[in-house]
Amino acid sequence: MIPLTRFRRKALPLAAVLALASVTGSGRAASGDAASSSGRAAQSGSAVASGGNSAPPTAVTKPPAQAVTKPAVTKPSPPTPANLEALPASAYTGILGKKIIGPDGKELGLVVDVVVDAQGGPHAAVIDFGGFLGVGSRKIAVDWRLLKLTPGAPDWKISLNISRDEIQGAPEFKPDAASGQMVGPPPQGPPSHDVDR
């Protein structure tokens, strides 16, 4: 199983350095640009790099280091891909950070990661639950099929038909571990027995 976050791990420190460099190096105007352009980018970690690296659609003068290989011409804005497909909010939603509602109608936790299989399909949701002001929360992987998604506006309702008591004893999910476990569907024997692959 491959957590999504692993793909972003390499890009992020670089993105941070670039973002910070834009504050210290190119002054207030540049940092203002970076802040506004990365505002939308907060949804996906890898897009953070656009804050300090790739040019916004409007013309921006490049640092002199770039001029060694290329003539100092302002870059035209990239063309819109021809093969765009619609992602209506009524049919699709991002899931990171969304709240999971338990059977009692109370918030169970937040989706912090999605575990995918070799085909790229979702296999488990990693839920961060419990705690007080961030102290003492635990991450537990739950079989993707146990999530019930109800489209709605502005946010979808994502519910899990397992009570807190049934999942709290599951082992903590570690993204770096060689093998982990997730909570499977209840009828198929004891939950801890349902080992991922």
Partner: protein, 425 residues
């Protein structure tokens, strides 16, 4: 406001026992400590929860928090030196609190990466200037002879603020929204500015200037003082054993206790603050009457006890009861860090630099603590992790016992003992 009334009641009860009534400056300092304790709560582990709700990945949250940690570590000592250099300590407090407001607003308004990084760095740096500046003001308000009592009051009011802050922000996050917690934090910075007005008029010339024997040393000599180095080692070891204790207990509780786990964890946070509020003045008196070593030993010894009980116990009631011992340690450390540092460097002109140095040691201990405890917990299980933290606590206690000299000034020094009062009035 009912909480204010209660707080004022506790404050007036604490100054009894035949001492003169608190001056307006002392009262202002009480309130300042309370409000500053209040606003610190929102910036802790809760940032991770908030950023998660904003769609941040684990990795980027880890990066932002690490950035804050690194910034805090890097700025402790320079911030101390800066506070030493600035005469108007109240201004340092004012700017630090305003930086807190900006930081909280940045989190609330625009949780985009750059804004969050800036907010983390801003908060880290200003918390490094805020603590030393408040300690320096305390030095000026109290004068050396009653400094232990003053720091006892500081710790009491900071703990009351902390406890109230945790309850307010926990409720705000639960009933309103995660984002509202940061708006609340920003709003709570405003009342912290009010008690600054009377404190701005105090005389903050270094105490040594008024004393006959001025001990102006070079910064390096101030930091190289053997007593300060040993003390820093002691608090580093203690924090190494202490900082991971609460997250580890919280994690255990979430696993073992049912749906009320959050409430039990809240109790584990608020109950020690109540104990700090109750015990700090007595701790301060004890330090002035019987010396610093005994207070340090008393506080540090609670850590191995907690670690061993947590390693063995599983049910929530003994956990919360024993966690209350954290309040004794918190009161002891809260009073001893500024007090011992003042014993050693208070007259050197480098008091805040020395405080920054001790803060740096605490920061190293805290950062290493969660890493070490997590590593041990993953491989050998929670009980072993608790036992290891107990061993660090025992080592800190033994280090105090064997190496830490008594820093309490042996007898009143004629020139330095008169409490320094305000210029005007």
């Amino acid at each position: 406001m009912s909480t204010d009334d209660r707080v004022a009641g506790i404050g007036s009860a604490g100054k009894g026992r035949g001492r003169p009534a608190a001056t307006p400056a002392e009262r202002s300092l009480d309130w300042l400590n309370l409000f500053v304790g209040n606003i610190q709560t929102g910036f802790g582990p809760f940032i991770a929860v908030y950023l998660t709700t904003q769609g941040w990945t684990e990795t980027s949250i880890g990066l932002a928090l690490s950035l804050g940690t690194v910034a805090a570590m890097a700025s402790q000592i320079p911030a101390g030196a800066l506070v030493d250099a600035i005469r108007g300590k109240a201004w340092v407090v004012l700017l630090s609190i305003l930086a807190f407001s900006i930081s909280a607003l940045l989190f609330a308004v625009q949780p985009a990466p750059l804004a969050v990084y800036v907010a983390e760095i801003l908060h880290s740096f200003s918390s490094c200037t805020l603590g030393p500046a408040i300690a320096a003001i305390s030095l000026a308000v109290a004068g050396p002879s009653v400094l232990g009592l003053r720091f006892g009051r500081n710790a009491r009011f900071a703990a009351i603020g902390n406890g109230i802050g945790a309850v307010l922000m926990g409720a705000c996050g639960y009933y309103v929204s995660e984002r509202a917690v940061f708006f609340l934090t920003a709003a709570l910075t405003l009342p912290a500015l009010v008690p600054l007005l009377p404190l701005a008029r105090l005389d903050y010339s270094p105490p040594a200037a008024g004393a006959p024997q001025a001990e102006h040393a070079s910064p390096l000599r101030a930091l190289g003082d053997r007593r300060l180095l040993i003390f820093a080692c002691c608090v580093l070891l203690f924090t190494l054993g202490n900082a991971a204790m609460l997250p580890l207990i919280g994690n255990t509780l979430t696993k073992t206790v049912g749906s009320e786990a959050s409430l039990v964890i809240a109790a584990c946070i608020v109950v020690p603050q109540l104990i700090v509020a109750l015990a700090s003045p007595a701790i301060g008196r004890l330090a002035e009457a019987r010396g610093r070593r005994i207070v340090l030993l008393l506080g540090f010894l609670t850590l191995p006890i907690r670690g061993l009980v947590f390693a063995a116990a599983a049910s929530p009631v003994p956990l919360v009861l024993v966690q209350a011992l954290d309040g004794i340690a918190g009161a002891s450390l809260g009073v001893m860090v500024p007090l011992v540092t003042s014993d050693v460097a208070g007259r050197s002109g480098h008091y805040n630099l020395a405080l920054g140095f001790v803060g740096f040691a605490i920061g190293i201990g805290a950062t290493a603590s969660t890493t070490v405890a997590g590593w041990i917990g993953d491989r050998l299980g929670q009980p072993v992790a608790f036992a290891s933290l107990a061993v660090f606590g025992l080592a800190a206690t033994l280090l105090v016992l064997s190496a830490m000299p008594e820093t309490k000034p042996p007898h009143p020094r004629p020139g330095a003992m008169a409490p320094r009062r305000r210029r005007s009035e």
